[in-house]
Amino acid sequence: MKPILEIRGLSKRYYLGARETKLDTFREVLQRGISAPFSALWGKNGAANGKIELQPFWALKDVNFDVKQGDVLGVIGRNGAGKSTLLKLLSRITSPTLGYLTVRGRLASLLEVGTGFHPELTGRENIFLNGAILGMRKAEIRRHFDEIVAFAEVERFLDTPVKHYSSGMYVRLAFAVAAHLNPEILVIDEVLAVGDLSFQKKCLGKMGEVSRGGRTVLFVSHNMAAIENLCSRGIVLHHGQLHYDGSAADAIQYYLKSLSTKSGTGHLVDLDGVGERISRVAPLLRRIEFLTDDEEPLIEGLAIGARLKLNVHFDLPKPMSNFNVGLGFNNSYGQRVFTAHSIFEPNRWEAECDGQQVLSCEIPSFTLVPGEYAVKVWLDLNGREADAIEDAAKMTVLESDFYGTGRVPWNGTMVLKQRWHLEQAANPSGMDMKSESQTGQPEKLARKSIAEG
């Protein structure tokens, strides 16, 4: 049987800087001569006549693979690896520069949750509109209507304009419509990174159902757990090229390994050649030192809530006092969970400095949940980013007994000190109201329990 999806030599070229130098008005076109407007209109790039230098950039280069019917393929890669471009080509939003792809079956793509939702329309109206935009027939939508509404849990608000929806309801409704598409091939971009945890689980469950139904799914995500759970096969893209094609578990291994060889480990990270560096001025950042209690080097990983001290070594190109260092911590889903920056320091140094410097950042209690964090470091000179390294280093927060109860925090992004006690319940209700308004205590407690849940 022929593969349901055939991708051969697929390439897509963009022009870097095309956004900024894009010809926005006729005047600019006219400035480039009389013949230029036509080439601009008809898509030949204007660089040929040498007026504007556009850097060609291959978002995807010579990618070849087949997808068999029933495959659930995870597409993995860091930001800018070409994942989104691949999905856009598959869903025909943009056309390839070279190569071709053959699709044998109805393909539906879900690159964003709620595409085409109109805030002024009601939930009911948006279900129909969004369904039609995603390629469903009216009869099909009608058939699945009750299921969609039940899945989204918005029965009571069906006739309310979605602009009055909470963001959670909005996302639920949008995913519900998409989840009831019935294509032979389903293409999904990172749409599960939205909504609350229980809904994410529900979505993953629905997708699992879809893929077990023998349908072909292409799934892009940074959530390795989701890829591992759902996908039978994985491909790794890197700088627009296909680097790995194999089982999902192997592809994840390959990807993680390629990441960890790129970002530094150990307590002293030499910033030469690690991560993804963008030096607008010069490569000024030298190294990062990770220290913990008693200035001990951080080797194994940090216990939750322990002291973290980071020394950032860098050079200043000329004498100045307005320089700052930022440190960003991303969790394994690529979400920034914490940013430290020296502009937040109230007692700043005034002195003018030059040459080699060390800025030290001390975090008395590092309260992120256990896991691996990628550290981004950057240097600002006179308020502008001069040097930046994404994924410069890896740092692990260990599973440890933060609360002193023998229980390891497992959920959320951070831990916070909390106190619980049982309120006396014997008070008459009138008295109770009074004491509540006086102390505000029950309100605080309520909020805490929500945060925990």
């Binding site: 963009y14 095309a18 894009k22 010809l23 926005d24 008005t25 006729f26 076109v29 601009a40 209109l41 008809w42 898509g43 856009k88 080509l89 869903s91 025909r92 939003i93 943009t94 056309s95 390839p96 520069t97 070279l98 190569g99 071709y100 792809l101 053959t102 699709v103 044998r104 079956g105 109805r106 793509s109 690159l111 964003e112 595409t115 085409g116 109109h118 002024e120 329309l121 109206e125 129909f128 509109l129 039609a132 935009i133 995603l134 390629g135 027939r137 009216k138 019935n182 032979e184």
Partner: protein, 274 residues
């Protein structure tokens, strides 16, 4: 759903044939886009659908005061108010249609960069959604006919032809302008100006015979000239110079075909540059 459905996506550049089969497959979406535009047009307005009537009606009152009372433009038979309104009905449709459709792609850029469907439906939908306003203003026209006791003639059967002309001209211009607007936001500024000037070069507020003989042929090149003359002929039984009307309607068809072809050529790059 058949597994025999097969499609190969290749690099696209240059002229493309128009894919009528695909448009047929997606026609329900066109209906939904029209429905959406109608639904949201007058949401959260005080007067709602009355706006559709108010615009040509107030314009008619003002024009009849300025041109009929002050400068004594004559209407050749029917009361001037009826005469002006019969011209303003198609003109209001046309001007609103090209204004809306030329901005439609930009207004829907989120859709264009996130999901595939025949892009042509966006400007077409914007034009078709305005047909409801046109029908409403025709209903008001019927009331005015009764008020002025002006008889309807058999010529009214020509109305669909001229209506089609107006739709083709508006769609064609809308397709070209919306496609240009993706790369050149100049269109946003040019269109209101064009619409304003268009009112004066089209015989909306004056009868066609006011245009000197040697300019008549040139007037035929204005697609809306024929449409407006035709509307007046169909609704009021006014005389029409068939030569001008025929040339004009041909121009309507040509604009539409040109619009389709140009749009088709440019659409493959919309998602990349919008």
């Amino acid at each position: 759903m058949s597994t025999t459905f097969e499609q190969t996506i290749r690099p696209r550049s240059g002229w493309q044939p128009i894919d009528f089969q695909e448009m047929y497959l997606y026609w329900e979406l066109l209906a939904f886009l029209v429905w959406r535009d109608i639904k949201i047009r007058y949401r959260q307005t005080l007067l709602g659908g009355a706006w559709a009537l108010l615009q040509p009606f107030v314009a008619m009152l003002i024009f009849s005061f300025i041109f009929n009372r002050l400068t004594h433009v004559q209407s050749d038979g029917p009361p001037y108010k009826l005469f002006a309104y019969a011209g303003l009905v198609p003109w209001t449709f046309f001007s609103a249609a090209i204004t809306q459709s030329s901005n439609s792609l930009i207004a829907n850029q989120q859709l264009i960069s996130k999901v595939y469907f025949p892009r042509i439906f966006i400007p077409l939908g914007a034009v078709l959604a305005l047909l409801l306003d046109l029908v409403l203003s025709l209903a008001l026209f019927a009331v005015m006919m009764i008020y002025y006791r002006w008889p309807l003639t058999l010529a009214v059967f020509w109305l669909p032809v001229f209506l089609l002309g107006a739709i083709l001209a508006a769609s064609g211009a809308g397709l070209i302008l919306s496609a240009l607007n993706v790369s050149f936001r100049d269109v946003k500024y040019a269109v209101p100006f064009m619409v304003q000037m268009g009112l004066f070069v089209t015989p909306v507020i004056y009868p066609e015979r006011y245009v000197p003989q040697r300019w008549q042929a040139l007037m035929g090149l204005n697609p809306m000239a024929g449409v407006v003359i035709g509307f007046r002929h169909a609704l009021l039984g006014s005389a029409a110079s068939w030569q001008t009307v025929c040339v004009s309607l041909t121009v309507c068809v040509l604009i539409f075909v040109t619009g389709l072809v140009i749009f088709r050529r440019m659409e493959s790059r919309f998602a990349d540059i919008i």
